[in-house]
């Protein structure tokens, strides 16, 4: 797709922003614009926005809490409301829940420890903009690296997420105690995905696996087909 334009937001403490930019460039052929948390506006004509992993603001108060109140997030919320696809990975997922763009919260891992390894995931909804390149029920492997990945929401919210097909991916093994093994959720409109595992760290064999490529390819395919 020519002219694909994406933005990667960098917060103080982000550390996966470059990996995300490389994935968007290499897999999507995207022009990637780097945006700073203090910017009040996003570049115009964006096709995609990514909130990367890391430890924004040192995880002060709660993971993602400070970043969620930074100037750029008002612009991201507005763009999401207009239908621009937004992907939040790891700390980006935490920022999206803190902003209220996604339901639930990400709490300390049930085992207390930081978990940094490859995990098996199962694609729950293979119809979404982000997951259309996978088969429903397919098992894939992504790396995780987080301390606060334990997804929590009340039962009514969990029932609604499952009923509406908004659970994009689940853990296929025990990782962090997440409610109903949820690893990634979509917003109501399906254009915002937050997930703890890192697709951008699995885009070529040298990474140990390339299952993440299809997530980015799905987005390109979905936007071309739209």
């Amino acid at each position: 797709m020519s002219g694909f334009r994406s933005a990667v937001v960098t917060f103080p403490g982000s550390n996966c922003d470059r990996d995300m930019a490389v994935a968007l460039e290499q897999v999507c052929g995207s022009e990637v614009l780097r945006v700073w948390h203090g910017d009040a506006e996003l570049p115009s004509g964006l096709d995609f926005i990514a909130l990367p992993g890391g430890f924004s603001y040192g995880d002060y108060l709660r993971s993602g809490a400070m970043a969620a109140r930074s100037p750029i997030m008002r612009a991201v919320s507005d763009a999401a409301a207009r239908g621009v696809p937004v992907l939040g990975v790891c700390n980006g997922f935490q920022v999206l829940t803190e902003t209220g763009l996604l339901p639930g919260a990400l709490m300390r891992n049930a085992g207390i420890r930081f978990v940094c390894r490859e995990v098996r995931l199962r694609v729950d909804n293979a119809q979404s903009l982000f997951t259309a390149g996978y088969d429903a029920g397919e098992e894939i492997v992504f790396p995780v690296a987080h301390h606060d990945g334990n997804f929590f929401a009340d039962d009514a919210t969990l029932d609604r997420l499952e009923g509406e097909g908004r659970v994009a991916v689940r853990y296929a093994e025990e990782v962090n105690g997440s409610a109903r093994a949820i690893a990634g959720v979509l917003n109501d409109a399906g254009n915002v995905l937050g997930m703890m595992p890192h697709p951008e760290r699995a885009i070529e064999p040298a990474h140990g696996g390339s299952d993440g490529r299809r997530l980015f390819e799905s987005v390109i395919g979905g936007l071309v087909g739209a």
Binding site: R62, E98, A105, I112, N150, F152
Partner: protein, 83 residues
């Protein structure tokens, strides 16, 4: 004036840190601790003109995450804060 914001996990929300603390207490030989829940204490020094409604809004918008946490606002008496 001093204001203390007590942030605690809602009942029913699992608290792995609290559980680990409980296990540590048991390991130190303390018995009879039935449960530990870890929260946060945030102290603010605010102008007397800051209203309860404004403090409430601060809690809802930033200091507590209403999905998982409750909060309690405590205005600390001037006498105590002067000591």
């Amino acid at each position: 004036m001093k204001v203390r914001i007590h942030v605690s996990l809602k009942p029913g929300v699992l608290d792995p840190q609290g559980r680990a603390i409980q296990h540590s207490l048991e390991g130190l030989g303390f018995s009879g601790v039935n449960e530990v829940r870890q929260g946060k204490l945030i102290e603010l020094d605010v102008d007397p003109a800051v209203t309860d409604d404004q403090l409430d809004e601060m809690c809802r918008k930033l200091l507590a995450n209403m999905v998982i946490e409750n909060y309690r606002i405590e205005r600390v008496a001037q006498v105590e804060s002067a000591q």
